[in-house]
Symmetry: C2
Subunit: 480 residues, 2 copies
């Protein structure tokens, strides 16, 4: 029988071809499937379930910090997109244009939202009149479209799912505090729920969001040493408010422009999870977002009592709050082991006649493959302990990867040397603040500026590029 079934195919090793390894995983772990719509993906049940967990956990963090969800139209009329000058310059080249409704041409063409600042601003202009209406702390879960030339599953696609927070505040101070708070929410989420430590920092001027005064970001490091911008939080000042004529009457009866922020993360985070934690056998999923946290595989399941016991254990673990799957299909145990390894299920529980006799089961950790014999009396506690150990383990591994792949450099030769000896990674180096130096470093070494980290150090007194005095520490790296 087993021969008829799909066998888990080999995937490319990470060391041989990391890009191919990534593409193999997203397909073979059944996260996505390609469609005939170029650059757009089908997110399959297993991939979408990860996104649902991300949404649920982030949404709770947003609501706990006072935010409310709303829904804006998906279209932006061209005139509305043109209202904020920097914004339109940044986004117009990569939008999809709707020109016809049914058989009739539109009087004004509309783009599918690449982001929704324009729509939020128009709405805020309608509903805000007094300081009593502030702050407005809104968030939206939706899909957006950016007409990218080259695309990669989750990392860069023409349509992607995300959330976009848009807030309005009476003062610059409050808006800046919000921008920082939401960056912390993202960083905490990445650390605690995705078990992926990130660097918090500020983008340089050349790397800011179109229309922002300043852009903060979190940068994660992937297994191959390339960086991933995992989330951004923007402070807008009152630029959008002026462009969209948003005003409020303050306590002292003066009319003022409010200060705004926006912040977002997307399905890109799934790409981050894959590349931060995955190994040559497939996915390794953080327990908090894993669709299945523990899979039960009955051994010799045709023998009397095995399936009954497996079902009983499943019920106990479900009652303990875990997401559990019992695979009692007629595939071989070996096939099942390979399948759930590929899918990155954190724990695998095996139970057979001999285990039942000994009142125990076997639990195997996905990350270390460590095998434990677990007495059934304390099953729930043991499963939770192993899950916590795995959670810590994959976090530590990521952190160690960052430590091993962060190179402190004083000039561009040192950068070239460090990268060629140790492979890609974060480069910590001083910068004079000149955009020409940013460009020159990238030209010479291949690494661009990632962010000005909040945790500043003084690793040298001069710019890594021009040798002039420099006060700013910058993280550099290749990025997805």
């Amino acid at each position: 029988m087993a021969k008829e079934k799909k066998l888990v195919s080999e995937i490319t090793s990470r060391d041989v071809d990391f890009a191919k390894w990534y593409t193999d995983i997203v397909k073979k772990a059944e996260l996505i499937e390609y469609s005939s719509v170029k650059g757009c993906l089908v997110i399959r049940p297993y991939g979408y379930a990860i996104w649902e967990n991300i949404q649920r956990l982030l949404d709770k963090r947003f609501k706990d910090t006072g935010h409310e969800n709303v829904y804006m139209p998906m279209f932006i009329p061209e005139g509305l997109l043109n209202r904020e000058k920097d914004h339109v310059v940044g986004f117009a080249p990569e939008v999809a244009w709707v020109t016809h409704g049914g058989s009739e041409p539109l009087t004004e063409r509309m783009c599918v939202r690449p982001t929704s600042e324009c729509l939020f601003c128009e709405h805020y202009a309608n509903i805000i009149t007094s300081y009593r209406d502030l702050p407005k702390l809104y968030n939206q879960w939706c899909s957006v479209v950016r007409w990218e030339k080259t695309t990669r599953p989750f990392l860069r696609s023409r349509e992607f799912l995300w959330q976009e927070g848009h807030t309005v505040h009476a003062t610059a101070q409050e808006a800046i505090a919000e921008t920082e708070k939401m960056l912390d929410v993202y960083a905490d989420f990445c650390a605690e729920d995705l078990n992926m430590p990130v660097i918090k920092g500020k983008k340089t001027e050349s790397d800011k969001f179109a229309g922002a005064v300043s852009t903060y970001c979190i940068e994660a490091l992937m297994h191959d040493g390339q960086a991933l911008q995992a989330g951004t939080s923007h402070y807008f000042g009152d630029g959008f408010a002026k462009a969209f004529d948003i005003t409020f009457t303050d306590k002292d009866n003066t009319v003022q422009h409010p200060h705004q922020t926006s912040w977002g993360v997307s399905t890109r985070l799934i790409g981050g999870i894959i590349m931060a934690h995955g190994d040559d056998s497939g996915l390794v999923l953080p327990p908090n977002v894993a669709p299945v946290q523990i899979v039960i595989i009955p051994v010799a399941q045709h023998k009397e009592g095995v399936l009954d016991k497996a079902n009983e254990l499943k019920q106990r673990l479900v009652n303990a709050g875990l997401r559990v799957k019992l695979d009692d299909s007629d595939n071989s145990a070996g096939w099942k082991f390979a399948e759930y390894e590929m899918k990155g299920v954190p724990l695998r529980l095996e139970i057979g006649p001999k285990d039942i006799e000994a009142n125990q089961c076997v639990i195997v950790r996905r990350d270390t493959r460590e095998k434990s014999f677990i007495g059934l009396d304390n099953l729930e506690q043991s499963a939770n302990e192993l899950m916590a150990a795995l959670t810590q383990g994959i976090y530590d591994k990521c952190e160690a990867n960052i430590a091993a792949r962060t190179y402190t450099c004083c000039n561009t030769d040192e950068i070239i040397d460090a990268l060629s000896k140790n492979g890609d990674g974060f480069v910590k180096a001083m910068w004079c603040g000149d955009e020409a130096c940013e460009d020159a470093v990238k030209e010479r070494t291949g690494v661009g500026s990632r962010c000005i980290p909040f945790a500043q150090e003084r690793v040298s007194d001069v710019c890594v590029c021009c040798g002039k005095p420099a006060d700013v520490l910058l993280y550099w790296g290749k990025a997805y």
Copy 2:
């Protein structure tokens, strides 16, 4: 101070102008705001929170019946839309066309999905090969676009939020069972969570979904006697499978086309809630989907101990699993009463110094305005009992409205007479099965066919229109 605040404005009475009453409510209860995108709406926090509750409750029902969520691209290339003949004829006239990506014209234009059969079918053709792959029970939460000429908030807009289930089965029998099961899921949800009883039935041939073999529907009756199609469930046979070349190898090794279904409900349900339960003071929300289930209004809140007690009661009710809001703003109590009446909060709890002394509070039901003095010792139990009574009360009121507004008629004169005497409602009448009679009845009386109810009766032996022998009972009515 209170004078400075927004006062709840009067809304039009339902009896004076039901359409105006509806528009007043959606705006003044802050469910929606208009945008400059014609026919598209901003769904505001209070409106979106209702949708989130609908999503959560329905999603659980879908998952409990074995369905999984996925996400498909939002675009359909024209060639793909053209694959199923009836489907394209039905939808092409009302789609929005994307013709450019950035500044470049597309080689093939794409529409924004009006529904996603084409995309699901293309995907199913890719992933289904064997009977072992069946059934596929997928659902998608997303927004869709239909270029309607006339629009109304929630009831008919150019973009709306919905879910669309798409399933694939080995046999016709299984697919038909799924179609019926999901109609039951919808009907149960409407009754139990929206407290809105519905009629289950089948659409006539002229009213089927474009591409379906048969369309089932649930029809609700609004306060004004007009019907609302609240959800549909379609059986496709193997028509889409043939058009999209979806095949599977059956147990006996023959290659076959599978049978498919699709089913959906949308933000239209919010329109149903408004028009089924609302009254001249505003919304009346079913407790299961109300963003706030009980609002606490402190009386003489400046007096010592009042706010402390109000907060304590809030915490107790939250702990009991209720969604609670304490309004301790400096608006007057009168303003607050009006505000939460307008917003349809099921229960209002008042607590002041005298109540505290007497160890009691006042709870007022939104539907009947009944006032109860509740001992604080049993607060949770009493609140839950009043909530259950309101839930049953608004359901019974809807059911009574259907009973009072359902007219059994044997010919078109009786229909005209019943409607003019009693106002709009459901007409129960026999039908010979001829489409010409459907059209003629609508022409003469203004009511169109709603559905062939599953609960058939024989109210006469002849067709209400042509007088020839008739076996089929039809529900007729005006519809939103």
